[in-house]
Amino acid sequence: MFKKELFFWVTISSGLVILAFILVPLVEMMTAPSLEMLTKTFNDKDVMRSIWLSIYTAGLAALISFVFGTPFAYLLARTDFVGKRLVESIIDLPIVIPHPVVGIAILSVAGKNHWIGQIFHELGIRIMGSVTGIVTVLVFVGLPFYVNAAKNGFEAISPRLENVSRSLGASIFSTFFRITFPLAWRSMLIGIIMCSARAISEFGAVVIVAYHPMIAPVMLYERFEGYGLKYSQPVAVWLVSICLILFLILRVLTLRNRKDI
């Protein structure tokens, strides 16, 4: 097309710069720790506990987003109403708000001097410094990714398929489970992956709401502060590796199932 022109070389070289910018630091970090350090960290109970806590809380956040986000995403995909743009912008708010602000905002309603915080206190639910608090924060930051992905999935399905299903005698619920869900589940799974990926990387909001119990990014930060770069690298390697493996498994599952459809 525009091969061999100067413009072509500009596009290529900027592409290479970007790839290098992303890959060089990551590869450097992944290859820096020695095998011995890696084994030692792997056997460190605190490290493994924090990594599993990260995965577990992020997974829970994704599950909650799935349960509440799916019907809402369907509503957004299928209806038009006054103020829909506004509602969609509200959904996107957690993406643009600075992370520590999220933590502060959640603590402002969870404290004892707010009526919501009082109800929580009455019920024995603690946000500050608890797994509940971590999950709350992760849902807050991850939800938009799930809702948007699921909404796109629903929008891609012609409402006429649902119309036909209903004309054949299926109720709204039957139609959702027999038509909409089987056709949209791939988008929903992508939403779950995006949501949990976002949740697992959250640091700023979590560190304000719950320094302890320690999720992996907080543990990473603590190791870095306390012992320096060399001791935080192996933690990072394990966190990234385990996450990559989990996402890879999910991806493989999706790809395999795409052939069925």
Binding site: L161, V164, S167, L168, S174, I261
Partner: protein, 345 residues
């Protein structure tokens, strides 16, 4: 039977108003109109997929205005088939069976009959995505008929098909209608389809029904300029009537009868106009002389525009007569039509 009484539908900017329409039991009824006339909206309202603002819709004597779509016994077939892409052909056809308490043997018999009638037996285990348009539309028909609806709604079922499949599905529709007691209501913007399939029809435009009647009646006796134009009466002139004569800009037409009103329109089909270079030796009462202004190749025929005293007539001639008469632009020709070809309203 479908009875639509004084139905109004508001849908954003779009609006259907005062829809009054009755489709008789086991009739093949066609709803015609240009794109954007509101035909699909009306169809989806009958199916219960779009709520009506006011008015009533009854199917088989039962008021269904407030009923959910799944309880109306109305099947719907769309132009783009809308087969469920994740289900096999067989699963598509039998999708609705479990919602209707039909016993297994009867369901099986119905399935076998539809599969045979629509020639689908070799496709049953396939997924819809790689099948042809004609095959897809046959599957969509089988799926809708499998639940034995009282009414089958067809939204331009032939428009997306190649001409050779179109013929096949058109034939299939006719046969399915003859072999069942289901009422067919089909939407189309193609008048030829309506002529070949339907008993009666309605013409819609801009959210309103303009005319209802037998297809022939609409074809021969349109009651408005819109319908006249829609059914291909290209020669449409505003006139003043005087006994059996109609006057327009220096021209005078002879009519078959005396119209009731003093002003109105006359409409003449282009295919009812005869062109000749010789003086006409015939009983035709409407004979004029004019100049050919434009000849347009329409594929199988030619459209010839003839100007007579500032009025433009459109006539249709075959390729053969075009060459035999040696017609060309600028030529003076004689033009004639029978009094029976002049429709007034």
């Amino acid at each position: 039977m479908i009875r639509i009484h004084d139905v109004n539908i508001k849908l954003g900017q779009f609006q259907l108003s005062n829809i009054e329409m009755t489709v008789k039991e086991h009739e093949f009824f066609v709803l015609m109109g240009p794109t954007g006339a509101g035909k699909t909206v009306l169809l989806e309202a009958i199916a219960g997929l779009i709520p009506v603002t006011d008015g009533t819709i009854a199917i088989g004597g039962r008021d269904v205005t407030q009923l959910a779509p799944e309880k109306r016994k109305v099947g719907i077939v769309y132009q783009d088939y809308c087969l469920f892409p994740h289900l096999t052909v067989q699963e598509n056809i039998t999708f609705g069976a479990k919602y209707h308490s039909i016993d297994k043997a009867r369901a099986r018999a119905r399935f076998d009959r539809l599969v045979e009638l629509l020639d689908l037996s070799h496709l049953l285990q396939r997924l819809p995505e790689n099948l042809s348009g004609g095959e897809n539309q046959r599957i969509a028909l089988a799926r809708a008929l499998m639940v034995a609806p009282e009414v089958l709604l067809l939204d331009e079922p032939l428009s997306a098909l190649d001409p050779r499949f179109r013929e096949e599905i058109r034939h299939g529709l006719k046969e399915l209608h003859a072999n069942s007691n289901i009422t067919f209501l089909m939407v189309t913007h193609d008048f030829a389809e309506a002529l070949s399939l339907a008993d009666r029809a309605a013409v819609m435009n801009e959210g309103q029904i303009r005319q209802t009647g037998s297809v022939n009646e609409i074809f021969q006796k349109p009651q408005s300029t819109f319908v006249a134009d829609f059914v291909g009466m290209k020669n449409l002139f505003p006139v003043k009537f005087h006994n059996t004569r109609a006057h327009t800009e220096g021209l005078e037409f002879e009519l078959e009868r005396t119209p009731a009103n003093s002003r109105g329109f006359v409409a003449i089909r282009p295919e009812d106009i005869v062109l000749s270079r010789e003086q006409f030796v015939s009983s035709m009462r409407n004979v004029f002389t004019g100049t050919i202004r434009r000849i347009t190749d329409m594929g199988l025929y030619y459209e010839v525009a003839v100007e007579i005293k500032a009025t433009m007539f459109t006539a249709i001639v075959t390729k053969r007569s075009l060459f035999e008469l040696n017609l060309r632009e600028g030529l003076t020709v004689n033009l004639a039509f029978k009094t029976t070809a002049v429709h007034d309203f």
